[in-house]
């Protein structure tokens, strides 16, 4: 990327995001339990006396260089030490975005380090056990790891890989970018009090009828037929996903950016202009579409790095211009391949797409709105997490933007911790089936069912009707029959 033209397109209006989430006690701020966070390039610190040069980014910034050097050096030593005990196959087994990782647990902290980009870079985070206790956050290593990986992927989506900076020659530019991005994004990071949600990292899909779904698909097909420059499309209604053509590696990241940053910040203007709601608009890029001026400066479109595999089996990163069009709670996200030679997306294209979508999209959006509005889901008397790894579909009563409410208060921290322990110790990642019933000391029941890799976790509060295992088994089958029948086999 040559320059950052509109540098704040990813975390604009951070304050409103914060307000949005602070009202919900389902999440805590990552920074409130953070001890340190770093990015290191070990090869840069190989020379004696120049060890500090491996530090590319360090939080907190006030930390002394000595301490930063110690922390990053320790992490590097941990990686090397552990390599002694791994066979070469184990060392090289990281495929796609399953980064090689190390965890360190001390009396006071939990550390996670990940190795990225052919192990050239090391990212690390340490969370304080004491602060986590104060925040009533159960530390769960896999969730911390997911949060760290997601932070990296978000950077990669906006700026490309670390390696692409060719930092040997251009150290300061790389460091500037890291500083620019992470100094803004880390303070905004949220952790779910139920860490499993961060660990699974799915996206919430909108459940809808078949005919309506066909409507959406045909709209997207027509759009792509009409404008063949559009390479990938994603369709959201409110903050739920309906349709996507992205790589699964990118989906959670871009979904998170849209639902947690971009969309919340766009709702304000929408509510104000209530009389003009049926009119669609672009959320980024130029406001004035009637001219043919080139798109420069603040008007240029955001560029994102997404995985593509059109030319073969291996996915590779490709730059795309991102167009986000919104109308009546519906959001169409379009990606057009970006290259420096061509003129890329012009005002004219934007204008034409606008004309196309204006009528089509509002019709579809209206229909979705009608169908959603007619469905009133009753609040449940239990909490749940459902996750399907093959579609990345996740829904939970404990998520921060859950529309599906539960009558039950948020489970206490011990119960959340027990859920994580149960998943970690009794439900194998590699097994496709599993079932586990656990009763907490405070008489909450935790039911975990894994069928065909799909995971259902039920968290059932203490009650007189659920005292025995037989009670809870019949309650479970009742819940599955009434709430998860369509998506879950009994």
């Amino acid at each position: 990327m040559e320059s950052i033209t509109n540098p704040l397109y990813f975390f604009t209006g951070s304050s409103s995001t914060q307000n949005h989430s602070s009202t919900s006690s389902n999440v805590i701020r990552f920074i409130d339990i953070l001890d340190f966070f770093f990015i290191a390039h070990p090869a840069s610190g190989r020379k004696e006396g120049e060890e500090h040069k491996r530090i590319m980014y360090f939080h907190p910034k006030g930390e002394s260089v000595d301490r930063q050097t110690e922390v990053t050096g320790f992490a590097e030593a941990v990686v090397n030490f552990t390599d002694n005990f791994l066979t070469s196959r184990e060392i090289n087994s990281h495929d796609s975005d399953n980064f090689d990782y190390r965890t360190v647990s001390t009396q006071k902290t939990e550390h996670v380090y990940i190795q990225i980009e052919d192990n050239n870079f090391l990212m690390g985070v340490a969370l304080s056990k004491q602060l986590a206790n104060v925040s009533e956050y159960p530390l769960f290593q896999p969730a911390i790891r997911s949060i760290l990986c997601d932070a990296y992927k978000m950077f990669r989506m906006f700026f490309g890989t670390y390696s692409s900076f060719n930092h040997q020659e251009n150290d300061s530019k790389f460091k500037d970018r890291l500083d620019f991005f992470f100094s803004r994004s880390v303070p905004l990071l949220k952790c779910h009090k139920m860490p499993l949600l961060d660990h699974l990292g799915g996206v919430e899909f909108l459940r809808m009828s078949g005919p309506l779904y066909l409507n959406v698909v045909s709209l997207i097909n027509e759009l792509q037929e009409e404008f063949q420059q559009i390479d990938k499309i994603m369709f959201l209604y409110q903050d739920k996903l309906l349709y996507y053509q992205l790589s699964r590696r990118d989906l959670p990241t871009i979904f998170r950016y849209l639902t947690q940053n971009l969309l919340p910040n766009s709702i304000g203007p929408e509510l104000e202009g209530a009389n003009n709601r049926a009119k669609g608009r672009y959320l980024r890029g130029p406001i004035e579409l009637s001219t043919d001026e080139p798109l420069l400066g603040d008007e240029s479109l955001p560029v994102v790095h997404l995985f593509d595999n059109q030319n073969g089996e291996d996915e590779y990163l490709q730059r795309y211009q991102m167009l986000v069009y919104r109308c009546l709670n519906s959001t169409v996200c379009m990606f057009v391949k970006y290259n420096t030679e061509n003129t890329n997306v012009s005002r004219r294209l934007l204008r034409n797409i606008d004309q196309f979508l204006e009528s089509e999209l509002s019709q579809v959006a209206n229909r979705i709105g009608e169908e959603i509005g007619s469905e009133v889901s009753e609040p449940t008397d239990f909490h749940y997490i459902y996750f399907n790894p093959s579609s990345l579909s996740m829904t939970s009563s404990l998520s921060s933007r859950s529309s599906s409410s539960s009558k039950v208060a948020i489970p206490p921290v011990e119960v959340n911790r027990l859920v994580c322990d149960t998943i970690g110790k009794f439900i194998s990642d590699s097994e496709e089936f599993g079932e586990c019933f656990v009763k907490s000391e405070t008489d909450w029941w935790i039911v975990v069912k894994k069928v065909n890799s799909r995971l259902l976790v039920l968290i059932i509060p203490p009650s007189s009707s659920t005292s025995s295992l037989a009670d809870i088994q019949s309650k479970t089958s009742h819940i599955v029959r009434h709430h998860f029948d369509a998506i879950f086999f009994t």
């Binding site: 030593a77 030490f81 002694n84 005990f85 647990s105």
Partner: protein, 387 residues
Amino acid sequence: MEIEVPGGSLNPGSGESGVGESGSEKSFSVLQVDLADEESERENEKYLDEEKEEETAEHLLERLMQLPYQVFILSESGRPIFVNSGNEEQLCSLFAVIGIFVERIRLWGDNLITISSNNKHIQFLHKSPLIFCIVSKYPEKLDEQLDVLFEQILSILSKSQLENVYKKKGDNYDLRKLLRGTDRLIESSVSSWRGSPISFVDSSISVIPMNPSDREFLANTMAGSLGAAKLEGALFGIMIAHRQIASYVRFKKYIMHPRDMNIVINLVSDKSLQLSDASTWTPICLPKFNDTGFFYAYISYPWQSQNIPACLVLLSVKRDHFDGLNEVKKSIVEKLEGNSKFFQNFSAAVICPNLFNISQIGNFNESLWSFIYLNHSSKQVCISASK
């Protein structure tokens, strides 16, 4: 004297005999054992040199990785003491790194507990003046395994000896000089722990299945003979087979912690002690009982020549009890062999031990597959065969 009947039906109070009083003296001073000073250190070094094979560190590490787990014991200064493949010297850089990790975190005012990666789990334990480290594929209960290791070392060198050695000889002292010949015990304490049901629950002992009336007779006989000998300071008697307890008798006020029991079991399960018609008299520290002093263990395999793998252990705090305990053993053996019906059953139970049977807890549940039973007060664990 009180009798504990593992897994049996006996009322614990009923086994008391008159001699119980003799054991109720306020306390038995546990003796300190002086370690023979290593005068011929040079000879030892020569011996160690010969032991070394021409093997590179990488080669050795590769061989080490074939093992299901790796154990490292080192001094606080990073000096190698034990690794379960032997050949510590070749891996000294690895030992040094372990020492540095522990020290680094300590300097940050913290304590290193674990490091892990995708499928390796590394647990650390710092018990001054030693550092323990275990590398394992499975994360379960590694902390307890290191505690077991630490106590195993203490059983050879008591805590006070351990501290004194480094005080007298300096931080760089090579502790292997004092632990020579005990590698097998250190190794087996962890390997047996990992492979047995005692690891299911914290610090338990496992019990060999026997007919309850036979067990009662065995316990009564042991208690009777030990009591009749009136040896002040002879506190415990244990019958062991296949690393399991057949019977355990003790003087009233004294209780043997299950972890100490497992140290004794580990000691007698070592092949080098299993001599027929011979008895062994060895000092042993039982750290949960008292980590600064030593017991003396009278160990014999009375029926080794008949291939009955039972081992009788009598423990005393007195150094000069060997002859007395030898008489106790003779008396016990005589009485047990005298009851031919018992002895036949006992031999069968010990030679080819059965697992507990599902039917022993009733036939009411058709779908019951297997059970594990733990007695919380005695810490005895029974595991059944599967259906």
